[in-house]
């Protein structure tokens, strides 16, 4: 079983990314379930604006899309800016819009029988809203979102420099990530054993 984690940080490598750090914790939890994980820092790639699978002209998306469809688990990890998921994350979601019209040979939408999870970091507030938005996008596209398949860290009210990577108050965040990994793997396995068949509107 494989998991792809898309990191929507605004910071290109090699700058440290809090989102990468927390997504890395979840990756570790998934690996303890035997899942092979791969994290992609989207901002390092030239993903073109658009809503088709290939926007031509040195578009980095087709290679990323190729990774996504090899995996049973997709995790969208994003920082929070002005209370929202990042522009880099939204860019990837827009590109995944094209998955809506792609099916396997039986007419099953390509995102069906894959599960989605969410990781959110921020220095203030907004995780549940970001989880709502990302989950809705993934569900719209066809991913199944297991119960409590998310974790987050933020600092609480007001601006400030404190970030996940230098916080010592991460117990709840990590225990929640452990549960998210458990649930993502459990539902992915349940769907592998008993997949959703071709829907009537295919």
């Amino acid at each position: 079983m494989k998991a792809i984690i898309l990191n929507g940080t605004l910071k290109p490598s090699p700058a440290p990314s809090n989102t990468e750090a927390l997504a890395g914790y979840l990756a570790g939890a998934l690996e303890r379930h035997g899942v092979q994980t791969e994290q992609i820092r989207l901002v390092d790639h030239d993903v073109k604006p658009g809503v088709e699978s290939d926007m031509g002209d040195a578009d980095a998306w087709p290679a990323i899309r190729e990774r996504i469809v090899t995996a049973e688990i997709l995790v969208v990890a994003t920082p929070t800016w002005l209370g929202q998921h990042s522009s880099v994350t939204q860019r990837a979601l827009e590109r995944m819009d094209a998955l809506l019209s792609e099916t396997d040979d039986d007419g099953v939408p390509i995102a069906y029988n894959r599960v989605g999870g969410v990781v959110v970091t921020g220095n203030e507030d907004g995780a549940h809203h970001v989880i709502a938005v990302v989950a809705q996008c993934l569900i719209d596209i066809g991913f199944t979102v297991p119960g409590q398949a998310w974790t987050y860290w933020n600092k609480g009210p007001g601006p400030g420099d404190e970030e996940y990577a230098n916080s010592d108050d991460t117990d709840w965040t990590h225990a929640t990530a452990d549960a998210a990994a458990h649930n993502l793997v459990a539902v992915a396995r349940a769907l592998a054993a008993n997949p959703i068949s071709t829907p009537p509107n295919a």
Copy 2:
């Protein structure tokens, strides 16, 4: 297999409810899969404000909660007011908050291994946002939300009297409901065969 549909219309019986009508279409689709369905019009019941399973004093919620936990499928059906899910729907979600701390004998949260779906009606715009919010609430509580486990009808831009029940432009809405029923049943069955076990944060 059973499904409970919570109808969050603001209109007490016997007034006609567009939300009931569209939820009824989804119920029919679920029944064609052999699912037993029951629709509850929440506004007809005196559900007290609060976030515990029993707020005492003639509270109608405990009986509704009892119905919910008999079912593998929960559908939240709501009208859209000012772009949001209704107050009656939010009241039920608040009461379901208490499910967060309830587990079975093995420590599995009570909402795990149940699936959630969403039905939205409105006379203007806002369905995807309402789906996002309701899905997030259900996922927070522990329900799994299958891909595309929703349908909706609205009229499009601007105020107006047109409603689902007297529209003749419902083909997409119904085809989408058929797929939602298909996916809800498929994932509920997959989880029945291979349930999520006790999570590590239990």
Copy 3:
């Protein structure tokens, strides 16, 4: 100048309300600008479900609506449940939907030239989303929302008992409330001096 503060706590009087406490801080800040304030705990009143100004039959809304339209400033104060504004708050917003079609003698919508602010409390996360939703509802109805006309307190990640009323970490929340009061009063006065006239779609 007058301000009405609607408190959407789920707890009837005389239970203490964190939302009332923080809204009370903002009321004090408004009073220091010479504004007369009145706070209404909505759950103590039998506000009927519906979207008209009077739902008949002992409906408590008409009297509250009467208070709102005497005031140049409306503050919506709400707790956060499952990341959302409360059912009690949404009930009031639904009832204000009727203001959309009410105008003064010149055809100016009744909410025009009034300003709106937001107060959010919670024990976890979600304030900016709640501010977004409440601000959108108020703007839809016709209220003007001044820059930074809000404040909030929450605890940050994870469930817990800590609440605004017993927190000693409220400096940012209070300074933000002081600015919100400053901005609400400034914009209300600017609009009193130079009101929006009848719009072309009246």
Copy 4:
């Protein structure tokens, strides 16, 4: 009086943009009030990811920021993808985050005494949610959002090719834009005559 309109379409020039077309209608309405307007198609400029006013290295944002702060009115115009504002729009909002810490010589935040409006296009649903999110971001930064300072067009339920630019059902959308222009200008003028002074948390 000047207005800057940021168009967040995903399509680089010279491709036609529905968002540009509807924003252009609003621009015309603003011009009839004597406002000078300028529309910027963001995707034609290399706006770097980040949250500072200048991200260096051929960053196109500083020049756009310079245009924004010359104007009393800012309109954010965006398409809707997966129910959300576009990645291109979110990129601009992230960059405006830096305005939070910029003030004039009296310590008044630079966005104060400017007003914000919203234009949304889409081929399905989601305008009120996008208005909520964009309004919240603008209000967070310090812009005042007048009542009903928005317009939108979408097609209603389900995917499809129909777009604003080839629709003949735009009367409500245009009348709403006319009112938005009226309200943006009225509140901008009211604030010019009686500006918000230095807030107490400056």
